[in-house]
């Protein structure tokens, strides 16, 4: 859950960069949005996928009958 909160915070920071670049389309905000902002967004989504896929696998193992061997 902590990882997901970090992911949510990273997404908010990335979105802030992107919105800043649209409100003030000057070189620095545009470059930051297209580099740092998108890197934060991608990292956040990767964390989300990792957490959700891990949870799904855990659930799958729990539901699936154990192999007798």
């Amino acid at each position: 859950m902590t990882a997901l909160r970090v992911s949510a915070l990273l997404t908010l920071i990335g979105l802030a960069f992107m919105v800043w670049s649209m409100i003030e389309p000057t070189p620095l905000p545009v470059m930051l949005a297209m580099s740092v902002g998108q890197a934060f967004g991608t990292l956040a989504f990767a964390i989300y996928l990792y957490v959700v896929v891990s949870a799904l696998r855990r659930d799958y193992r729990r539901v699936r009958p154990q192999d007798p061997s």
């Binding site: 997404t11 919105v19 649209m22 000057t26 070189p27 902002g37 989300y48």
Partner: protein, 227 residues
């Protein structure tokens, strides 16, 4: 501000998606719900779908914004060029192009872009270089100093002019001065924007020194190359 955002549907869509994502994320951070299927779906929208939509529309809007004169003029060293382009009385080549209703707000990009196969990429890469140079060399430079020091990196190509003025039209060739220098213009030996033809492109453009010219007693510093 609000009217400008509403007038641009891409920016409005991007900001709308960002706002939706932010609301969902703040709800998640404040309420801290259990990780049920519903929460996972909400987070998929908040961390995946909506930010992706924001990034996509934001990128398109960003690329379009980089074509506008206000973007180029946001670096202070470009202020004189921007002011000249926006001066309705200026008869400089750049200013006259800025008054063209088809691309006037993007006149810097229209004339300085590369129109080759990978022209957009080459132009954007050149723009990255401009930002590097500005941040590390010209950021604190005075306008007077910048006007003397900053110069166009390579001679302005006639091919850029010929992107619109093909030199093939009868009205272009009907001008006897054009007809007499046609080969030299097409071959790039004579710049369209040279003094005596249609130049200087900007009031601050410095003439390219002629190879046969005698050196002056007190030569000027490395000035802007005549585009």
């Amino acid at each position: 501000m609000a009217s400008w955002i509403i007038a641009n549907p891409l920016i409005a869509a991007a900001i709308g998606c960002a706002a939706g994502s932010a609301i969902l994320l703040l709800w998640y951070l404040v309420r801290r719900p259990a990780l049920t299927h519903a929460t996972k779906l909400v987070l998929l929208a908040a961390i995946g779908v909506l930010p992706l939509a924001t990034a996509t529309t934001g990128n398109v809007a960003g690329f379009e914004a980089t074509k506008e004169r206000r973007f180029c003029g946001s670096c202070h060293v470009m202020t004189p060029y921007r002011n000249d382009s926006e001066d309705p009385k200026s008869m400089a080549l750049a200013a006259r192009h800025a008054r063209n209703a088809l691309f006037g707000d993007a006149n810097c990009y229209a004339c300085h872009a590369d129109y080759g196969m990978f022209g957009t990429i080459v132009t954007k890469a050149g723009g990255m270089r401009h930002i590097y140079e500005y941040v590390f060399h010209y950021r604190n430079m005075s306008l007077d100093e910048a006007r003397e020091t900053i110069h166009i990196r390579k001679p302005f190509q006639n091919a850029t002019c010929m992107h619109c003025h093909s030199t093939e039209g009868p009205s272009w060739n009907a001008i006897k001065e054009h007809a007499s220098v046609l080969d030299r213009v097409r071959g790039g030996e004579l710049s369209c924007a040279s003094e005596g033809c249609h130049g200087p492109a900007h009031p601050f453009s410095k003439p390219k020194p002629r190879p046969d010219a005698k050196p002056e007693p007190s030569p000027a510093p490395n000035l802007e190359t005549q585009p």
